[in-house]
């Protein structure tokens, strides 16, 4: 009997994380909730910076979650809600910042680096090919090479 009780306790303890995931205040409307979560996953929490608003438990993130849900219920579009946050916190809140003058380096930089890498590789390969001269072995060299190669085979 005691063993059975312990087993049930252990099972309940193991199940605790399942409940923990539901701790975020769930809205009553699943449609609102789904839209809110999708939006929050694209937005940065400014307190923890490397978490999305959806992941964050910071006070500000909780307030913003509430705000986002209220705005969804008020009939605002996703873009309007994003704009609301950008107006207050800047492009930094967006995990996918817009392409504009100040973010050109961010978006184009990696491709520019890739291009530089490809050019460097191409130039290097061409120079190397130019340096390689075909030479043939004379008889003495050939017999030495064969001796070395067969010697390796013997050892193996």
């Amino acid at each position: 009997m005691m063993r059975y009780v312990l087993l049930v306790c252990a099972a309940l303890l193991a199940a605790a994380p399942l409940y923990a995931k539901q701790a975020v205040p769930a809205g009553d409307d699943p449609v609102v909730e789904k839209r809110a979560v999708t939006l929050e996953e694209q937005l940065r929490c400014l307190v923890c910076q490397n978490q999305t608003i959806a992941e964050s438990r910071a006070d500000l993130a909780l307030d913003l979650k509430k705000e986002i849900r209220e705005q969804i219920r008020a009939g605002k579009s996703d873009d309007q809600i994003k704009q609301f946050l950008v107006d207050r916190y800047g492009d930094f809140v967006l995990y996918k910042p817009p392409f504009k003058a100040t973010t050109v380096l961010l978006w184009a930089g990696p491709f520019a680096l890739l291009l530089v890498g490809v050019i460097v590789l191409f130039v290097y390969l061409r120079r190397r090919r130019a340096r390689i001269v075909q030479t043939s072995l004379n008889d003495e060299q050939r017999s030495r090479a064969e001796a070395l190669l067969s010697g390796g085979k013997d050892r193996a």
């Binding site: 307190v47 910076q49 006070d59 500000l60 950008v86 207050r88 916190y89 800047g90 930094f92």
Partner: protein, 174 residues
């Protein structure tokens, strides 16, 4: 010799980037509110919640809006600086008491001194969102037309006051 020059050049460029990058503070996100009108609010006063205060009441004056809370550790570090600064009577400092308990806030001011001409209560943090508050304390310099001209994220220090805020306030006061 040329073989070593290229890696050395790349190394120097990298060091240059790191030297700049490591000095930047990632917590200081440039505010989009600079040079925009201060977001409107009408909030109850901390000492007398029956009365309200609005940013419109300050039109025609240069003023500082300091976001603070009794639960905020950095505010405590900043507080003596503000108390000293308020004695110099350069510019009125208004406090936005952010997501705080009124009793705690009043006790805090009673114990540590009150540098604020007035404090107003943003109990649920709504106005904080409008002002883009994310790391209390924050301080805004607002000009005579009600436009935000400067935002300090994190505690105000005597150096920042003397180097940035006071010269800016003097210029705005004309």
């Amino acid at each position: 010799m040329k073989r070593f020059l290229i890696p050395l050049g790349i190394f120097i460029v990298l060091v240059g980037f790191l030297a700049v990058g490591l000095r930047l503070n990632p917590r200081e996100v440039p505010s989009p509110l600079i040079n925009k009108p201060a977001p409107p609010f009408t909030l109850p006063e901390l000492t007398d919640p029956q009365r309200t205060f609005s940013q419109k009441d300050m039109l025609g004056k240069v003023w500082l809006l300091n976001v603070w809370a009794s639960w905020c550790v950095s505010c405590r570090e900043e507080h003596p600086v503000l108390v000293e600064f308020s004695k110099r009577n350069i510019v009125p400092v208004y406090g936005l008491n952010y997501k705080d308990d009124r009793k705690d806030a009043l006790a805090w001011l009673a114990r540590l001194g009150n540098p604020y001409t007035m404090s107003i209560m943003d109990r649920d943090g709504r106005i904080g969102i409008d002002y883009g508050v994310y790391g209390v304390p924050e301080t805004y310099v607002i000009d005579k037309q009600g436009v935000i001209r400067y935002k300090q994220i994190g505690p105000v220090t005597p150096e920042i006051l003397d180097a940035k805020i006071v010269p800016l306030v003097k210029k705005l006061q004309g």
